[in-house]
């Protein structure tokens, strides 16, 4: 009785959706959430529906499977024009349209509405218990062997002896910001971390919340080139979300779907009053010819308000995320990442082939931390790695979905500085 009452109530909640947006689908997916029946989850842990939209790369499939398993029960997956083979098992497919750009606007809008209805329908079925929750796709097993030897199971002799589950004891190293040395921490972030451009996979070494090293492992997925004003509004919305203004961000998204000059003017005024531009440190994310973040935000406000975008010169050869991000604190880095248009970002985030992939294995010299995570257990593409700090490495029990690992045994190191 109580359970059925709870179920009835739960069905009235907006459908919590975690999104993995593929090629050309980011903007369309973002506009889906203009509907109050759906809510976008910040982490797969908060979601019940996994929406996979658009074409995905082969190498992303493993991450999608892992993300799927990180969602709590009850959960369900919807593939929207997604080509992922059998990676997601028997997940429901929503098709019946090609890309938005090929159709006229009215048709695209009708299809988007159909997707919203289906998502809401799925949530109703799930909440009422009609639809069973989807089982795990991967085995729940650690990436590296436990190697528990020694009095505390640390895996070897002495304090620093072993690497249980492939993770060594944390060690401090030099700091870029203020000289307060913390233990560096290397992990993969992405490819579907909600604050990242879809598809971007970075391997970053963090010290506290400061990025020490960033390496692009997978470039962001190509996005549809749309006309300027809605694109600018959606980019503005993403920045506002990062600045702690979700309500204004939603307003910008609503404005992107339905633009009228009076709403845009009011929106622009509210954003200025919120102190969004002042909040950003001057000079942050400055790029030759592309000004700093504050200027880019002001430009976005202007474009959203109807003025045409200023033409920017070509990027300097050397401009790349691997040089732009280090030294930035996490939330500054996220603002910088989201401040570029798709074309600029794709040039900044090109995958650079480094020849030292093998030589990496030789710099075991104690000064570096060798976070040998083997595989990444992605949380919403987010945290690929836990532990390290606690050193105990006690393995999770069956309830844990965070540590699904890819089966190849990576030997990656934190210290390829």
């Amino acid at each position: 009785m109580a359970v059925s009452a709870l179920r009835k109530w739960a069905g009235e909640a907006p459908a919590p959706i975690f999104v993995a947006a593929g090629e050309e689908m980011r903007d369309r997916v973002e506009l889906l959430f203009n509907d109050g029946r759906l809510v976008r989850a910040a982490s797969p842990r908060h979601a019940a529906i996994f929406l996979i939209a658009g074409r995905m790369r082969l190498e992303d499939r493993e991450d999608l499977r892992r993300l799927h398993d990180q969602m709590p029960h009850p959960r369900v997956t919807l593939l929207w024009e997604a080509e992922v083979g059998e990676a997601l098992g028997e997940a429901e497919r929503f098709t019946g349209s090609t890309l938005a750009s090929d159709k006229d606007a009215g048709e695209a809008r009708r299809l988007d509405e159909a997707v919203r209805d289906r998502l809401e329908g799925l949530w109703q079925e799930l909440a009422s218990g009609e639809r069973p929750s989807e089982p795990d796709l991967l085995h729940d097993e650690p990436p590296n062997p436990w190697e528990g030897i020694g009095p505390h199971g640390q895996g070897g002799k002495g304090m620093m002896g072993g690497t249980p589950y492939g993770r060594p004891m944390a060690m401090t190293s030099d700091d870029l910001r203020d000289g307060l040395a913390l233990d560096p921490y290397t992990a993969r972030f992405g490819p579907f971390l909600p604050v990242f451009p879809p598809g971007l996979l970075l391997e970053m070494t963090l010290q506290g919340d400061v990025i020490q090293l960033a390496k692009v492992l997978r470039a962001p997925l190509r996005q549809a080139a749309s006309d300027h004003a809605p694109e600018a509004l959606l980019r503005l919305a993403r920045l506002l979300d990062l600045l702690g203004l979700p309500a204004l961000s939603q307003r910008a998204r609503l404005a992107a779907g339905d633009r009228s000059s009076s709403t845009l003017e009011k929106l622009g005024r509210t954003i200025r009053w919120s102190g969004a531009t002042l909040a950003i440190p001057p000079g942050l994310g400055a790029l030759e010819g592309h000004a700093d973040l504050r200027t880019r935000l002001n430009d976005l406000l202007a474009i959203a308000g109807g003025s045409s975008p200023a033409t920017r010169p070509e990027l300097p050869e050397s401009a790349h995320l691997s040089s732009l991000l280090p030294g930035l604190e996490w939330s500054e880095a996220m603002l910088v990442l989201n401040s570029f248009d798709d074309k600029t970002l794709s040039m900044l985030a090109m995958v650079m082939n480094e020849p030292d992939e093998e030589s990496d294995g030789h710099d075991h010299d104690g000064d570096h931390m060798h976070h040998d995570h083997g595989g990444h257990h992605d949380h919403g593409g987010s945290h690929n790695d836990h532990g390290g700090h606690q050193g105990e490495g006690g393995h999770e029990d069956q309830g844990d979905h965070s540590s699904h690992q890819s089966h190849e045994h990576h030997n990656r190191h934190g210290g390829h500085a």
Binding site: L6, W9, A10, A42, A48, V195, G244, A247, A279, P281
Partner: protein
């Protein structure tokens, strides 16, 4: 008397909590221009979270993870217990109410840190550390501001502070103090421009790896803390239960509701400054400002008091 006050506390907390949940749903919709959600939505969300599987991460600090929301909620309730709801209506009459509230403020740092730490994952941990860095100086500010409110009363008890406001409310004495205290309110209820623990850029920060009932508990504790800090603001700056015609409790409820709405609106209307910059602002601008406010009140009382 204490028993009545204790019952009133329960009533106040439930009414305040319902109001906070409602305001938290309605105001963002109003600001974003979206259709207003139903009043049933917070209950529906709660029902959903209750039926969601609780996630365990790899090697979490399970005990602290479980206790953190409880501690946070307890701090909110303890803080509320030293606040007078009406003349003589205090659950725990204390001559050092400000000290009790101050320790509740300070211990929220522990609660939030525990919550972020226990998941054993990087993004929650960053959120937790960030909160410690920001909340510590924010607590200092709030203490200076509250001492400024206590000076005219020559007492650290909230009842005396309210009585001392019969002539003039503290908000007139130190208007900047009220604003600084509202900032603290945003900080300890993890809200909007001061939400450094659970922000979107950390994929939910300390909650990034929390699902189901635990997430619900955390949300409840956050809202309860919002109610508490609104009540303290109303008491310390807006004359608490003082007011004509209506009974004291009603005045207190109205003033608390006003502060709460202001806090929720502010949480949606002001941008969050990146943490490093915010640290600079707090230590170099806001903290000296709170000093000056304290000095001004002290001089006023010394010369004309």
């Amino acid at each position: 008397m204490e028993l009545i006050a204790a019952l009133l506390l329960l009533l106040f907390l439930s009414v305040g909590f319902a109001g906070a949940a409602l305001a938290d749903g309605m105001l963002p919709a109003l600001i974003s221009g979206q259709a207003r959600p139903s009043w049933r939505r917070p209950i529906a969300e709660a029902a959903r979270l209750l039926q969601t599987q609780p996630i365990r991460t790899e090697a979490p600090d399970a005990l602290l993870w479980f206790l953190a929301p409880a501690l946070y909620l307890a701090l909110a309730i303890i803080g509320l217990a030293v606040i007078p709801f009406g003349p003589g209506l205090v659950t725990i009459p204390s001559e050092v109410g400000i000290v009790v509230w101050g320790s509740c403020e300070a211990l929220t740092i522990v609660a939030v840190f525990m919550f972020g730490w226990s998941a054993n994952a990087p993004l929650p941990l960053i959120g937790a550390y960030r909160y410690v860095a920001i909340a510590l100086p924010a607590m200092l500010i709030s203490m200076f501001v509250l001492i400024g409110a206590a000076l005219p009363a020559e007492s650290l008890g909230f009842t005396e502070i309210v009585e001392a406001q019969r002539t003039v409310w503290n908000v007139v004495r130190q208007p900047a103090g009220l604003i600084l205290f509202l900032m603290l309110g945003l900080a300890i209820s993890l809200r909007g421009p001061f939400d450094y623990a659970d922000p979107a850029d950390l994929a939910g920060g300390t909650t990034a790896d929390v699902s189901g009932p635990a997430l619900l508990a955390w949300k409840i504790a956050r809202l309860a803390m919002l109610v508490s800090v609104s009540a303290v603001t109303a008491t310390a700056f807006l004359g608490g239960y003082l007011g004509p015609i209506l009974p004291g409790f009603v005045w207190f409820l109205l003033k608390t509701a006003l502060v709460l709405v202001v806090l929720v609106a502010a949480g949606n209307l002001f941008a969050r400054v990146p943490p490093a910059r915010m640290m600079g602002v707090i230590w170099t601008m806001l903290l000296p400002l709170s000093f000056l406010m304290l000095l001004a009140v002290g001089l006023e009382l010394l010369l004309w008091g």
